[in-house]
């Protein structure tokens, strides 16, 4: 599958492999970890967040004056999709105690716990139920379970990974509830990998001081997400589900509390209104904004909708200046451009090497450092390999895994990866993989406290849409964990809130006001948000699709 010129470079990788293998077997660090100063330098010079036009000042809303990722600002400084006057808010189409927006693992655990705490739940989602980033996580979920590990060490790792910007109370909740989250999931039937003696199989991840990554082969996210989805589906009396109906705006009441949402049915193009006592946003992240033109690992619906609607309703955002690029996105073959090559590959011993087969960075630095080092290798040092399509990448030497742990290790531990590449005729047990950083995760999000509350009454957030837990850089395995820990918390506290909430008259006046602000700063009426779906139609085709006016990306 690899063209001959790439094969030539692969032969160099093969040549240095025995020496690198010896090093790995010796148990010594195969490459020195960077010092704090070296880390800062490589970040400043090569991380995409630090590029001149990566951020700009947002001019309206609760974070006015803050520097935020440019592509996000463009979503925030836009008009609403809807005309508030069109809606008869006296007769909402649905009524519920708790409205959960988004059906990934955060939305599911929130729905389950809200229902268990007595609330009637309406779960609405943009794609098919469960089709989400949660389903795609391969590598693992962290929890300090081993005897030589503990929540305190976990706490330190989370803080260090997040550049010490994390909100302490959130980190505390995360690490202290981690083992219980695993326990809960196992009790619901997640088949976590175990050793023969029953102890949990744990692997190291980037930035962890102990092997703390729990997995379910390399379908960890799927194993978790589909199990809790099944549980959600088993409770039709308490949890009602609406698919393909993204929330495109929140509704408030006359007292300024959130009190519902406007949904847009992607198929029949109807708008529907929901009245709710409490709302949980679990819409995930923003990979499909393709920040700085990067490819992404994210699912089709990851377009920051939750952030946008919450922001219009007055919720504050945190750390929206920081973007996570996963170091190892596939760059070849072209059909899988941007796809995730799980960090577990490196956890199992795969080493990143340049076109000459030389190691140039420790394989398990925190993600932003690792990604920056890859970019440095491909740009300043010019030691990357170019694909026929014009992308550059470095090799991730996956065959080492089998050399280290025996033949069959990849098939057993990384079946998804193996299959993914096999589909396009690359055998990762024999040949290395060409990788480059890919847009992976929204480090920041809507600001919450440890009850998942925002600064807007009645509005709760869980999962990737929330900000503060991971500071400015999330470590592998802590997202899968936060979905469960904060998903459950959001469910509990939202149900509690709903019991006491008295909803006043519904209104969309905040939309009207926000639109006026947008107009004041001179934005073209064509800019509307949330984006809902990304646009992959080639320009030449689009020219033939213009009617009199073409607005946004959803036709």
């Amino acid at each position: 599958m690899y063209p001959e010129y790439m094969r030539k470079s692969i032969r160099k990788v093969e040549k240095t492999r025995p020496e690198r293998l010896k090093l790995a077997r010796s148990g010594k660090a195969i490459f020195p970890m960077m010092s704090a100063e070296e880390r800062q330098e490589v970040l400043d010079k090569f991380h995409p967040d630090y590029k001149k036009d990566a951020r700009k000042k947002v001019r309206i809303g609760p974070n006015k004056g803050d520097n935020i990722t440019t592509e996000v600002v463009d979503q925030l400084e836009a008009y609403s999709r809807i005309k508030p006057d069109y809606f008869d808010l006296k007769n909402p189409d649905y009524e519920t105690d708790v409205l959960v927006i988004g059906a990934g693992s955060a939305g599911f655990s929130a729905s389950l716990l809200a229902a268990e705490n007595g609330a009637d739940v309406l779960l609405v989602t943009k794609l098919r139920i469960g089709d989400s980033n949660s389903m795609m996580a391969q590598g693992g979920i962290q929890a300090s379970v081993r005897p030589d590990d503990n929540p305190v060490l976990h706490y330190l790792d989370v803080m260090g990974g997040g550049h010490f910007d994390n909100i302490p109370e959130l980190v505390k909740a995360l690490v202290a509830e981690a083992p219980d989250a695993i326990h809960w999931l196992q009790d619901l039937g997640v088949m976590f990998d175990r050793n023969e003696d029953g102890t949990m199989l744990t692997k190291p991840g980037g930035g962890t001081c102990r092997p703390r990554m729990h997995s379910a082969r390399d379908y960890t996210g799927a194993a978790i997400c589909r199990t809790i989805r099944d549980e959600v589906l088993n409770r039709p009396d308490k949890i009602k589900i609406l698919e393909h109906q993204p929330a495109v705006e929140l509704i408030k009441d006359e007292n300024g509390n959130v009190a519902g949402a406007v949904l847009y049915h992607l198929e029949n193009r109807n708008y529907y209104t929901v009245k709710a006592k409490a709302i949980i946003i679990a819409t995930g992240g923003f990979g499909r904004l393709h920040v700085k033109g990067f490819e992404t690992t994210n699912h089709y619906g990851a377009t920051a909708d939750g952030l946008v609607v919450a922001y219009r309703a007055g919720a504050k955002l945190l750390y929206m200046d920081s973007v996570q690029y996963h170091p190892t996105g596939a760059v070849y073959p072209p059909q899988i451009l941007g796809f995730l090559c799980t960090e577990k590959l490196r956890g199992l011993g795969a080493q990143p090497v340049n076109k000459n087969g030389e190691l140039f960075v420790h394989p398990l630095e925190p993600r932003d450092i690792e990604a920056s080092a890859f970019i440095r290798e491909c740009t300043e040092r010019d030691l990357g390999i170019q694909t026929p399509g014009g992308q550059v990448g470095i090799w991730l030497d996956s065959p080492l895994i089998e050399k280290l742990s025996g033949p069959g290790t990849i098939k057993k531990n990384l079946p998804a990866m193996l299959r993914q590449f096999e589909r396009f005729d690359v055998d990762i047990t024999q040949d290395p993989i060409l990788v480059y950083p890919t847009l992976h995760y929204q480090n920041g999000g809507i600001e919450i406290n440890d009850h998942c509350e925002t600064n807007v009454n009645g509005l709760f957030v869980a999962g990737e849409a929330a900000g503060g837990i991971h500071g400015r850089n999330r470590l592998m395995g802590n997202s899968q964990l936060d979905l469960i820990v904060f998903g459950r918390r959001a469910g509990i506290y939202a149900a509690e809130y709903a019991k006491k909430a008295k909803t006043g008259k519904l209104t969309l006046s905040h939309i009207t006001e926000y639109d006026q602000e947008v107009k004041k700063i001179g934005i073209d009426r064509k800019h509307i948000s949330p984006m809902v779906l990304p646009d992959y139609t080639p320009a030449s085709v689009k020219e033939r699709q213009y009617t009199t006016e073409y607005q946004g990306t959803l036709r």
């Binding site: 060490l153 505390k172 690490v175 219980d180 102890t199 699912h299 072209p334 026929p388 139609t537």
Partner: protein, 228 residues
């Protein structure tokens, strides 16, 4: 997409469109100007939303695959299946035993399997679907869980099964029963959950949350790193 890629013709809703060679079916649909609303999710082969039926040029066979993982060929005729309606019985996992009785009650259709192997042949994840159905019929729940582990619920097996079996829903039950009842419990996990509930780490965590960044930094850079 690199410049000057050769094009191939694919047929969508019966009409021909020129698309770049090497495109996946999803890529081809989008290149032709279709905006996908349903029948798409992860775009990486993990969610099973994009089940698609197609016929290749000159071939009578109806084939199936994931639209995000299947590369188009010249003359391919494509139809997306956005949704496979399927039965899903309701149960309380705490009250289901991990044995054959569960499947007799909740998925009686399983026992109608005629062994035609259509499900295995169509599975885009190369799962031995018929084998896991047979394992369930034998009451070997753990085996079915293991064999079906990589299922992404695309629905293609159920779509083509002549016995109207919903293999993938039965499989999730098998996996849940295995995860909950059949795999050994981890003593470490039980012990740690107990320790935390008893408040063993409360003091130190409390101290950390109130320490200044310098203290945390020092402890972070001083911590011992174990990788094995």
């Amino acid at each position: 997409m690199p410049k000057n890629v050769p094009m191939v013709k694919v047929y969508i809703l019966g009409e021909g469109f020129d698309v770049p060679e090497g495109s996946t079916i999803i890529g081809a649909l989008e290149y032709a100007g279709f905006q996908l609303t349903v029948g798409v999710g992860c775009r990486e082969g993990f969610c099973g939303a994009c089940a698609t039926l197609y016929r290749e040029k000159g071939d009578y066979k109806l084939q199936a695959g994931l639209a995000c993982q299947t590369v188009v060929t010249d003359g391919m005729n494509i139809a997306q299946i956005p949704f496979v309606p399927a039965e899903k019985p309701i149960y309380d996992i705490n009250k289901v035993d991990p044995d054959i009785e569960a499947f007799k009650t909740l998925y009686p259709t399983l026992f109608r399997c005629v062994g035609c192997n259509t499900c295995t042949k169509i599975c885009p994840q190369d799962i031995e679907v018929m084998d896991y159905v047979q394992a369930l019929i034998r009451g070997d729940v753990a085996r079915a869980a293991d064999l079906s582990f990589d299922c992404i619920r695309c629905g293609l097996c159920a779509l083509r099964c002549p016995a109207e079996i919903v293999q993938y829903n039965a499989a999730i039950l098998a996996r849940r029963l295995t995860g909950k009842y059949l795999l050994p419990k981890s003593p470490d996990l039980e012990a740690r959950v107990k320790e935390i509930a008893e408040g063993l780490y409360n003091n130190e965590l409390e101290k950390l949350t109130t320490s200044n960044t310098e203290t945390i930094k020092k402890r972070y850079y001083d911590r011992e790193i174990k990788t094995g």
